[in-house]
């Protein structure tokens, strides 16, 4: 049994550039139509089918709304699936990641809320640039290696932005 592509569920063509607001609206509309509550009086088969649709819709939405996950999914559509757990050798980028994490530690120690805001802004900018670089190369078979490297970098920055959010919450308390 083949599952429809995540993009097809939302009536979209596979693409990295995505209007996230539109995706969210579309998700809410679709989620209503397969919500288990609507099938409370239906027979068991229909209930199960609605539950399955609801689950795949959720999975698709979670994957597509997150840039690195969307990137990994797109690469898997056009080639072999990329393993989640790999070791990356990307020395200059990783060196920079260590520096950024050290910087974030210093901001935490100093409880520097303005500094965290600045850090967040420049991280967002780096993420936007990375997304833009990926958007122009992911569907070019000759640049697949580059696209994979960019997708892995996105994963690191995504993780880092989680840490920034957690730090913000701690500093807000």
């Amino acid at each position: 049994m083949g599952t429809p592509c995540h993009f097809a569920l939302f009536d979209l063509q596979p693409s990295f550039r995505l209007d996230l607001d539109q995706l969210a609206t579309r998700y809410r509309e679709l989620a209503r139509t397969v919500h288990p509550d609507r099938f409370a009086d239906a027979d068991a088969r229909e209930q199960r089918s609605a539950l399955e649709k609801s689950a795949s819709l959720n999975e698709a939405y979670q994957t597509l709304k997150n840039a690195p996950q969307r990137a990994r999914y797109l690469l898997a559509l056009s080639g072999p699936e990329l393993p989640l757990e790999v070791t990356v050798h990307d020395p200059d980028f990783l060196m920079q990641q260590i520096q950024l994490r050290e910087e974030l530690e210093d901001l935490q120690d100093a409880a520097d809320i303005d500094g965290v805001l600045r850090f967040k802004r420049s991280l967002k900018q780096a993420q936007d640039e990375l997304n833009e670089s990926f958007a122009v190369c992911w569907d070019d078979a000759a640049r697949r290696e580059e696209a994979e490297r960019l997708m892995r970098r996105m994963q690191f920055l995504d993780k880092l932005s989680h840490e920034v959010r957690q730090l913000e919450e701690r500093l807000d308390d």
């Binding site: 989640l84 790999v86 990356v88 990783l94 990641q97 260590i98 970098r153 690191f156 840490e163």
Partner: protein, 128 residues
């Protein structure tokens, strides 16, 4: 998830945290990362003229298991020759630290860091 006592010990008292001059011709640096969990590991070795690892340092941003794996790796590398160090397997690190299956990839990352550091040193010396 509960960490084993050995992981907690290395996490709370990490051995050999620090940094060496990556430009030093006697220093090999391994930089590796695990994108899914965002872990970044830097492992460095200083090798003397008889090819023995005199000192090892690491810096890891990641979970307790990743920190413990790299901490243990530096302990085991010290006093070993490059060839001996390269035989350190992730399974040995994982067994010593009693890592649960979901954390095995942390020990894989440490093994890859060891190999990267040795390779970097050998490249500097024109040995590969």
């Amino acid at each position: 998830m509960a960490y084993s006592e050995k992981v907690i010990d290395h996490y709370e008292n990490p051995r050999n945290v620090g940094k060496m001059d990556a430009q030093d011709p006697d220093v090999g640096t391994g930089m590796v990362g695990a994108p899914a969990c965002g872990d970044v590991m830097r492992l460095q070795i200083k090798v003397n003229e008889s090819g023995v690892i005199e000192d090892a340092k690491f810096k890891t941003y990641g979970c307790g298991s990743a920190i413990a794996s790299s901490s243990l790796a530096t302990e085991w590398m010290k006093g070993k020759t490059l060839d001996e160090a390269e035989t350190i397997k992730n399974t040995q690190l994982a067994e010593e630290l009693a890592l649960p299956p979901v954390k095995i990839h942390c020990s894989v990352l440490a093994e890859d860091a060891i190999k990267a550091a040795v390779r970097d040193y050998k490249q500097k010396k024109g040995l590969v």
